[in-house]
Amino acid sequence: MKKLFSMILAGLGALLVNTASAQVTFSPSVFTAIDQVTITVDVTGTPMAGEPEAYLWAFSNAGDAVSNGSWGSSSIVNKMTSAGVNKWRYTFTGVDFYNSTPAALKELGLLLKSKDGSKQTPDYKWFKFDPLIFTATKMRVFPSKVGPDDVVSVNFDQSLATVVNEQRMMPNNVTVVLVNAAGGTVDTKTFPVKKEGTIFIGTFIPTYSFTVPVGTVLDKFRYRFNGTVKNASNVDVTVSTEEVEVPFSKLK
Protein backbone atom coordinates (compact mmCIF):
# COMPACT_ATOMS: atom_id res chain seq x y z
CA MET A 1 0.00 0.00 0.00
CA LYS A 2 2.84 2.29 0.97
CA LYS A 3 4.56 1.41 -2.31
CA LEU A 4 1.41 2.17 -4.31
CA PHE A 5 1.08 5.51 -2.52
CA SER A 6 4.73 6.33 -3.37
CA MET A 7 4.18 5.41 -7.02
CA ILE A 8 1.09 7.64 -7.24
CA LEU A 9 3.04 10.51 -5.65
CA ALA A 10 5.93 9.97 -8.06
CA GLY A 11 3.50 9.92 -10.99
CA LEU A 12 1.85 13.14 -9.84
CA GLY A 13 5.29 14.69 -9.40
CA ALA A 14 6.27 13.77 -12.93
CA LEU A 15 2.98 15.18 -14.20
CA LEU A 16 3.63 18.46 -12.39
CA VAL A 17 7.13 18.67 -13.88
CA ASN A 18 5.73 18.03 -17.34
CA THR A 19 3.02 20.63 -16.86
CA ALA A 20 5.63 23.15 -15.73
CA SER A 21 7.86 22.43 -18.72
CA ALA A 22 4.89 22.69 -21.05
CA GLN A 23 4.47 26.34 -19.98
CA VAL A 24 7.89 27.28 -21.35
CA THR A 25 8.68 27.27 -25.05
CA PHE A 26 11.88 28.17 -26.85
CA SER A 27 12.37 29.43 -30.39
CA PRO A 28 14.38 27.80 -31.85
CA SER A 29 13.49 24.74 -29.86
CA VAL A 30 17.10 23.51 -29.92
CA PHE A 31 19.76 26.17 -29.38
CA THR A 32 23.42 26.53 -28.51
CA ALA A 33 24.92 28.98 -26.04
CA ILE A 34 25.77 31.38 -28.89
CA ASP A 35 22.34 31.27 -30.55
CA GLN A 36 19.81 33.99 -29.93
CA VAL A 37 16.80 32.33 -28.39
CA THR A 38 13.34 33.66 -27.56
CA ILE A 39 11.65 32.20 -24.54
CA THR A 40 7.88 32.39 -24.01
CA VAL A 41 6.35 31.57 -20.65
CA ASP A 42 2.66 31.02 -19.91
CA VAL A 43 2.05 31.92 -16.25
CA THR A 44 -1.60 30.83 -16.19
CA GLY A 45 -2.31 29.02 -12.94
CA THR A 46 0.68 30.49 -11.11
CA PRO A 47 0.82 33.38 -8.61
CA MET A 48 2.05 35.56 -11.50
CA ALA A 49 -1.23 35.15 -13.42
CA GLY A 50 -2.91 38.50 -14.06
CA GLU A 51 0.17 40.54 -13.10
CA PRO A 52 0.71 43.69 -15.20
CA GLU A 53 4.44 43.05 -15.65
CA ALA A 54 6.92 40.23 -15.25
CA TYR A 55 10.67 39.96 -14.76
CA LEU A 56 12.85 37.04 -15.74
CA TRP A 57 15.02 35.45 -13.06
CA ALA A 58 17.38 33.11 -14.88
CA PHE A 59 19.99 30.68 -13.64
CA SER A 60 22.23 28.01 -15.12
CA ASN A 61 24.78 25.39 -14.22
CA ALA A 62 27.38 28.17 -14.67
CA GLY A 63 25.69 30.75 -12.46
CA ASP A 64 22.85 33.27 -12.53
CA ALA A 65 22.11 35.68 -15.38
CA VAL A 66 24.21 38.80 -14.90
CA SER A 67 21.21 41.08 -15.40
CA ASN A 68 18.93 39.47 -12.79
CA GLY A 69 19.44 42.33 -10.34
CA SER A 70 18.51 41.65 -6.72
CA TRP A 71 15.53 39.58 -5.62
CA GLY A 72 13.88 42.64 -4.05
CA SER A 73 14.46 44.78 -7.13
CA SER A 74 14.84 43.08 -10.49
CA SER A 75 16.87 44.79 -13.16
CA ILE A 76 14.87 46.61 -15.81
CA VAL A 77 16.98 44.70 -18.38
CA ASN A 78 15.12 41.52 -17.44
CA LYS A 79 11.66 43.01 -17.86
CA MET A 80 9.68 40.75 -20.17
CA THR A 81 7.48 41.68 -23.11
CA SER A 82 3.82 40.75 -23.14
CA ALA A 83 2.97 37.98 -25.61
CA GLY A 84 -0.75 37.82 -24.87
CA VAL A 85 -2.86 37.11 -21.81
CA ASN A 86 -0.60 35.70 -19.07
CA LYS A 87 2.18 35.12 -21.60
CA TRP A 88 5.57 36.77 -21.40
CA ARG A 89 8.50 36.76 -23.81
CA TYR A 90 12.21 37.46 -23.56
CA THR A 91 15.11 37.13 -26.02
CA PHE A 92 18.68 36.46 -25.04
CA THR A 93 21.95 34.80 -26.09
CA GLY A 94 23.34 32.38 -23.52
CA VAL A 95 26.99 33.45 -23.47
CA ASP A 96 26.06 37.12 -22.98
CA PHE A 97 23.13 36.56 -20.65
CA TYR A 98 25.14 34.39 -18.27
CA ASN A 99 28.51 35.98 -19.04
CA SER A 100 29.94 32.52 -19.51
CA THR A 101 31.56 30.41 -22.21
CA PRO A 102 29.85 27.94 -24.57
CA ALA A 103 31.95 25.18 -23.04
CA ALA A 104 30.76 25.99 -19.51
CA LEU A 105 27.06 26.43 -20.27
CA LYS A 106 25.23 23.11 -20.18
CA GLU A 107 21.69 23.86 -19.00
CA LEU A 108 19.51 26.70 -17.77
CA GLY A 109 16.52 27.27 -15.56
CA LEU A 110 14.26 30.22 -14.89
CA LEU A 111 11.28 31.65 -13.09
CA LEU A 112 9.15 34.76 -13.54
CA LYS A 113 8.64 37.22 -10.72
CA SER A 114 7.29 40.63 -9.88
CA LYS A 115 9.89 43.37 -9.64
CA ASP A 116 9.86 43.38 -5.84
CA GLY A 117 9.84 39.59 -5.60
CA SER A 118 6.52 39.42 -3.75
CA LYS A 119 5.12 37.06 -6.40
CA GLN A 120 6.79 34.39 -8.48
CA THR A 121 6.23 31.29 -10.56
CA PRO A 122 7.73 27.92 -9.71
CA ASP A 123 11.19 27.10 -11.06
CA TYR A 124 11.19 25.89 -14.65
CA LYS A 125 14.27 23.67 -15.17
CA TRP A 126 16.42 22.23 -16.64
CA PHE A 127 16.68 23.10 -20.31
CA LYS A 128 19.80 21.99 -22.15
CA PHE A 129 22.06 24.03 -24.40
CA ASP A 130 22.97 22.17 -27.58
CA PRO A 131 26.77 21.69 -27.43
CA LEU A 132 28.89 23.58 -29.97
CA ILE A 133 31.58 20.92 -30.13
CA PHE A 134 30.86 17.21 -30.19
CA THR A 135 31.39 15.53 -26.87
CA ALA A 136 30.90 11.79 -26.53
CA THR A 137 27.98 11.20 -24.19
CA LYS A 138 26.29 8.14 -22.77
CA MET A 139 22.93 9.03 -24.34
CA ARG A 140 22.91 10.57 -27.80
CA VAL A 141 20.47 11.18 -30.64
CA PHE A 142 21.39 10.98 -34.32
CA PRO A 143 21.01 13.35 -36.09
CA SER A 144 21.45 15.99 -33.40
CA LYS A 145 18.28 17.78 -34.50
CA VAL A 146 15.22 15.79 -35.57
CA GLY A 147 11.61 16.49 -36.44
CA PRO A 148 8.56 14.24 -36.00
CA ASP A 149 8.81 12.96 -39.59
CA ASP A 150 12.49 12.02 -39.45
CA VAL A 151 14.41 8.84 -38.86
CA VAL A 152 15.60 9.07 -35.25
CA SER A 153 18.38 6.90 -33.87
CA VAL A 154 18.78 6.92 -30.09
CA ASN A 155 22.13 5.70 -28.82
CA PHE A 156 23.34 4.34 -25.49
CA ASP A 157 27.14 4.13 -25.24
CA GLN A 158 27.67 1.67 -22.43
CA SER A 159 31.40 2.45 -22.22
CA LEU A 160 30.47 5.91 -20.92
CA ALA A 161 28.01 4.69 -18.27
CA THR A 162 28.87 5.58 -14.69
CA VAL A 163 25.96 3.91 -12.88
CA VAL A 164 26.63 0.29 -11.93
CA ASN A 165 23.39 -1.11 -13.37
CA GLU A 166 23.95 0.75 -16.64
CA GLN A 167 27.49 -0.59 -16.84
CA ARG A 168 26.40 -4.17 -16.19
CA MET A 169 23.10 -4.33 -18.03
CA MET A 170 22.51 -6.18 -21.29
CA PRO A 171 20.26 -3.77 -23.20
CA ASN A 172 17.33 -5.48 -24.95
CA ASN A 173 15.16 -2.62 -26.11
CA VAL A 174 14.47 1.08 -25.86
CA THR A 175 11.24 2.66 -24.65
CA VAL A 176 10.20 5.86 -26.38
CA VAL A 177 7.44 8.19 -25.18
CA LEU A 178 6.01 10.82 -27.52
CA VAL A 179 4.85 14.01 -25.84
CA ASN A 180 2.52 16.66 -27.28
CA ALA A 181 2.70 20.42 -26.94
CA ALA A 182 0.56 20.35 -23.78
CA GLY A 183 2.98 17.96 -22.08
CA GLY A 184 0.68 14.94 -22.41
CA THR A 185 1.77 11.49 -23.50
CA VAL A 186 0.69 10.73 -27.08
CA ASP A 187 1.99 7.17 -27.36
CA THR A 188 4.60 4.88 -25.85
CA LYS A 189 6.41 2.11 -27.72
CA THR A 190 9.35 -0.18 -27.23
CA PHE A 191 11.83 -0.89 -30.03
CA PRO A 192 14.56 -3.52 -30.36
CA VAL A 193 18.15 -2.37 -30.24
CA LYS A 194 21.20 -3.40 -32.21
CA LYS A 195 24.78 -3.23 -31.06
CA GLU A 196 27.64 -1.45 -32.82
CA GLY A 197 30.76 -1.75 -30.69
CA THR A 198 29.88 -0.45 -27.24
CA ILE A 199 26.89 1.48 -28.56
CA PHE A 200 23.31 0.20 -28.50
CA ILE A 201 21.02 1.80 -31.06
CA GLY A 202 17.26 1.97 -31.38
CA THR A 203 15.66 3.52 -34.48
CA PHE A 204 12.17 4.88 -35.12
CA ILE A 205 10.21 7.50 -37.07
CA PRO A 206 7.72 9.23 -34.75
CA THR A 207 4.93 9.70 -37.29
CA TYR A 208 5.56 6.29 -38.91
CA SER A 209 6.37 4.03 -35.97
CA PHE A 210 3.74 5.43 -33.57
CA THR A 211 0.03 6.06 -33.67
CA VAL A 212 -0.28 9.84 -33.75
CA PRO A 213 -3.85 11.21 -33.87
CA VAL A 214 -4.53 13.66 -36.70
CA GLY A 215 -3.92 17.24 -35.62
CA THR A 216 -1.56 16.30 -32.78
CA VAL A 217 1.47 18.56 -32.47
CA LEU A 218 4.43 16.52 -31.27
CA ASP A 219 6.68 18.59 -29.05
CA LYS A 220 9.33 16.18 -27.78
CA PHE A 221 10.10 12.58 -26.88
CA ARG A 222 11.67 10.77 -23.98
CA TYR A 223 13.68 7.56 -24.21
CA ARG A 224 15.34 5.04 -21.95
CA PHE A 225 17.11 1.77 -22.67
CA ASN A 226 15.96 -1.37 -20.87
CA GLY A 227 17.92 -4.51 -20.14
CA THR A 228 18.74 -7.10 -17.56
CA VAL A 229 21.38 -7.66 -14.94
CA LYS A 230 21.98 -10.71 -12.77
CA ASN A 231 21.18 -10.29 -9.10
CA ALA A 232 22.98 -12.06 -6.21
CA SER A 233 20.90 -15.19 -6.87
CA ASN A 234 21.96 -15.18 -10.53
CA VAL A 235 18.44 -14.26 -11.60
CA ASP A 236 17.82 -11.72 -14.37
CA VAL A 237 16.46 -8.44 -13.07
CA THR A 238 15.11 -5.77 -15.43
CA VAL A 239 16.80 -2.38 -15.18
CA SER A 240 16.68 0.82 -17.23
CA THR A 241 18.98 3.71 -17.99
CA GLU A 242 18.09 7.23 -17.03
CA GLU A 243 15.34 8.77 -19.17
CA VAL A 244 16.38 11.53 -21.56
CA GLU A 245 14.10 14.18 -23.04
CA VAL A 246 14.65 15.50 -26.57
CA PRO A 247 12.68 18.41 -28.11
CA PHE A 248 11.65 18.15 -31.74
CA SER A 249 13.03 20.77 -34.10
CA LYS A 250 10.79 22.35 -36.70
CA LEU A 251 12.11 20.95 -39.97
CA LYS A 252 10.64 21.05 -43.45
Binding site: S27, S29, L132, F134, F142, P143, G147, I205, S249
Partner: protein, 167 residues
Protein backbone atom coordinates in the same frame (compact mmCIF):
# COMPACT_ATOMS: atom_id res chain seq x y z
CA UNK B 1 42.14 23.16 -123.05
CA UNK B 2 38.73 24.70 -122.35
CA UNK B 3 37.23 21.22 -122.33
CA UNK B 4 39.75 19.96 -119.79
CA UNK B 5 38.98 22.94 -117.55
CA UNK B 6 35.24 22.24 -117.70
CA UNK B 7 35.72 18.55 -116.91
CA UNK B 8 37.99 19.42 -113.97
CA UNK B 9 35.45 21.92 -112.61
CA UNK B 10 32.57 19.43 -112.87
CA UNK B 11 34.65 16.70 -111.25
CA UNK B 12 35.58 19.04 -108.40
CA UNK B 13 31.95 19.99 -107.82
CA UNK B 14 30.90 16.33 -107.81
CA UNK B 15 33.69 15.51 -105.34
CA UNK B 16 32.59 18.34 -103.03
CA UNK B 17 28.92 17.35 -103.29
CA UNK B 18 29.76 13.82 -102.18
CA UNK B 19 31.12 15.07 -98.84
CA UNK B 20 29.02 14.04 -95.78
CA UNK B 21 29.65 14.79 -92.11
CA UNK B 22 30.81 11.73 -90.26
CA UNK B 23 28.58 10.50 -87.42
CA UNK B 24 30.54 10.57 -84.14
CA UNK B 25 27.47 10.56 -81.85
CA UNK B 26 26.69 13.38 -79.45
CA UNK B 27 29.24 16.14 -79.45
CA UNK B 28 30.13 17.93 -76.22
CA UNK B 29 27.99 21.01 -75.90
CA UNK B 30 25.13 19.51 -77.85
CA UNK B 31 21.77 19.43 -76.08
CA UNK B 32 20.94 15.91 -74.77
CA UNK B 33 17.71 15.53 -72.87
CA UNK B 34 17.90 13.27 -69.82
CA UNK B 35 14.14 13.16 -69.37
CA UNK B 36 13.96 9.88 -71.25
CA UNK B 37 16.76 8.46 -69.07
CA UNK B 38 14.81 9.34 -65.94
CA UNK B 39 11.56 7.99 -67.32
CA UNK B 40 10.51 4.60 -66.03
CA UNK B 41 9.78 2.63 -62.91
CA UNK B 42 12.32 2.93 -60.10
CA UNK B 43 12.93 0.96 -56.92
CA UNK B 44 14.60 2.41 -53.82
CA UNK B 45 17.78 0.46 -53.08
CA UNK B 46 19.67 2.63 -50.61
CA UNK B 47 18.85 5.31 -48.06
CA UNK B 48 21.31 7.32 -45.99
CA UNK B 49 20.86 10.12 -43.50
CA UNK B 50 23.45 12.84 -42.90
CA UNK B 51 23.71 15.18 -39.93
CA UNK B 52 24.79 18.42 -41.61
CA UNK B 53 25.87 19.92 -38.28
CA UNK B 54 28.13 16.99 -37.38
CA UNK B 55 31.19 18.16 -39.38
CA UNK B 56 30.90 21.64 -37.87
CA UNK B 57 30.88 20.13 -34.38
CA UNK B 58 33.71 17.77 -35.29
CA UNK B 59 31.48 14.80 -34.58
CA UNK B 60 32.52 11.38 -35.92
CA UNK B 61 28.85 10.53 -36.46
CA UNK B 62 28.10 12.19 -39.79
CA UNK B 63 26.23 9.75 -42.03
CA UNK B 64 24.19 6.67 -41.25
CA UNK B 65 22.95 4.00 -43.63
CA UNK B 66 19.27 3.55 -42.77
CA UNK B 67 18.33 1.26 -45.67
CA UNK B 68 17.57 -1.76 -43.52
CA UNK B 69 16.19 0.11 -40.51
CA UNK B 70 12.84 0.38 -42.30
CA UNK B 71 11.35 -1.38 -45.36
CA UNK B 72 12.61 1.33 -47.71
CA UNK B 73 13.09 -1.32 -50.43
CA UNK B 74 9.29 -1.38 -50.85
CA UNK B 75 9.26 2.17 -52.18
CA UNK B 76 8.60 2.55 -55.91
CA UNK B 77 8.68 5.68 -58.04
CA UNK B 78 7.32 5.89 -61.55
CA UNK B 79 8.27 8.83 -63.76
CA UNK B 80 6.40 9.26 -67.01
CA UNK B 81 7.19 11.42 -70.01
CA UNK B 82 6.04 12.22 -73.51
CA UNK B 83 9.01 12.45 -75.81
CA UNK B 84 11.44 14.70 -73.98
CA UNK B 85 8.80 16.36 -71.80
CA UNK B 86 8.23 15.15 -68.22
CA UNK B 87 4.60 14.46 -67.41
CA UNK B 88 3.21 12.53 -64.44
CA UNK B 89 4.66 10.58 -61.53
CA UNK B 90 3.34 8.04 -59.05
CA UNK B 91 4.76 6.75 -55.77
CA UNK B 92 3.95 3.37 -54.24
CA UNK B 93 5.36 3.16 -50.72
CA UNK B 94 4.21 -0.35 -49.79
CA UNK B 95 5.36 -0.65 -46.15
CA UNK B 96 8.12 1.89 -46.62
CA UNK B 97 8.04 5.32 -44.98
CA UNK B 98 6.80 7.86 -47.50
CA UNK B 99 10.02 9.50 -48.60
CA UNK B 100 8.00 11.52 -51.13
CA UNK B 101 4.77 12.42 -49.41
CA UNK B 102 2.78 12.86 -52.64
CA UNK B 103 1.14 9.83 -54.24
CA UNK B 104 0.66 11.27 -57.73
CA UNK B 105 1.13 14.45 -59.70
CA UNK B 106 3.46 15.98 -62.21
CA UNK B 107 7.23 16.07 -62.11
CA UNK B 108 9.66 18.46 -63.67
CA UNK B 109 13.35 19.26 -63.63
CA UNK B 110 15.13 22.58 -63.90
CA UNK B 111 17.34 21.53 -66.80
CA UNK B 112 16.52 18.59 -69.05
CA UNK B 113 20.14 18.35 -70.23
CA UNK B 114 21.66 18.24 -66.78
CA UNK B 115 18.93 17.94 -64.14
CA UNK B 116 19.83 19.40 -60.77
CA UNK B 117 16.50 20.20 -59.16
CA UNK B 118 13.49 17.95 -59.42
CA UNK B 119 10.01 18.85 -58.28
CA UNK B 120 7.07 16.58 -57.55
CA UNK B 121 3.93 18.64 -57.81
CA UNK B 122 0.37 17.89 -56.80
CA UNK B 123 -1.88 20.94 -57.01
CA UNK B 124 -0.34 23.55 -54.71
CA UNK B 125 1.79 21.01 -52.86
CA UNK B 126 5.36 20.58 -54.07
CA UNK B 127 8.17 18.31 -52.91
CA UNK B 128 11.54 19.71 -53.92
CA UNK B 129 14.63 17.55 -54.17
CA UNK B 130 18.05 17.57 -55.74
CA UNK B 131 19.08 15.04 -58.36
CA UNK B 132 22.31 13.65 -56.95
CA UNK B 133 23.09 11.68 -60.10
CA UNK B 134 21.10 10.62 -63.11
CA UNK B 135 21.26 7.65 -65.45
CA UNK B 136 23.88 7.85 -68.17
CA UNK B 137 25.63 5.43 -70.48
CA UNK B 138 27.90 4.57 -67.58
CA UNK B 139 25.40 4.16 -64.73
CA UNK B 140 21.85 2.93 -64.56
CA UNK B 141 20.77 4.28 -61.16
CA UNK B 142 19.85 7.76 -60.08
CA UNK B 143 19.77 9.39 -56.70
CA UNK B 144 17.57 11.97 -55.08
CA UNK B 145 18.71 14.21 -52.25
CA UNK B 146 16.21 15.77 -49.86
CA UNK B 147 17.42 18.50 -47.50
CA UNK B 148 15.70 19.16 -44.19
CA UNK B 149 15.76 22.82 -43.26
CA UNK B 150 15.19 24.17 -39.76
CA UNK B 151 12.33 26.64 -40.20
CA UNK B 152 13.41 28.57 -37.12
CA UNK B 153 17.01 29.16 -38.21
CA UNK B 154 16.83 28.64 -41.98
CA UNK B 155 19.79 26.25 -41.81
CA UNK B 156 19.94 22.85 -43.50
CA UNK B 157 20.41 20.54 -40.53
CA UNK B 158 19.87 17.13 -42.13
CA UNK B 159 19.99 15.43 -45.51
CA UNK B 160 18.56 12.22 -46.93
CA UNK B 161 20.11 10.55 -49.97
CA UNK B 162 18.03 7.95 -51.77
CA UNK B 163 19.41 5.77 -54.56
CA UNK B 164 16.99 4.25 -57.06
CA UNK B 165 17.57 1.37 -59.47
CA UNK B 166 15.55 0.79 -62.59
CA UNK B 167 13.00 -1.99 -62.31
Amino acid sequence: MKRILTITAVASLLALASCRPEKFGDIVGTSVSNITNLTGSWKLVKATQTDMEAPIKNSPFVTRDITTDFPFADFRLTLNSTGTASTTFATTPGNSPRIIRLATGNWRVDNADAPRNIQFINGTDTVRALVGSYPTSFRSDFSVRIDRVNTETGKTTMRYDYVFAKQ
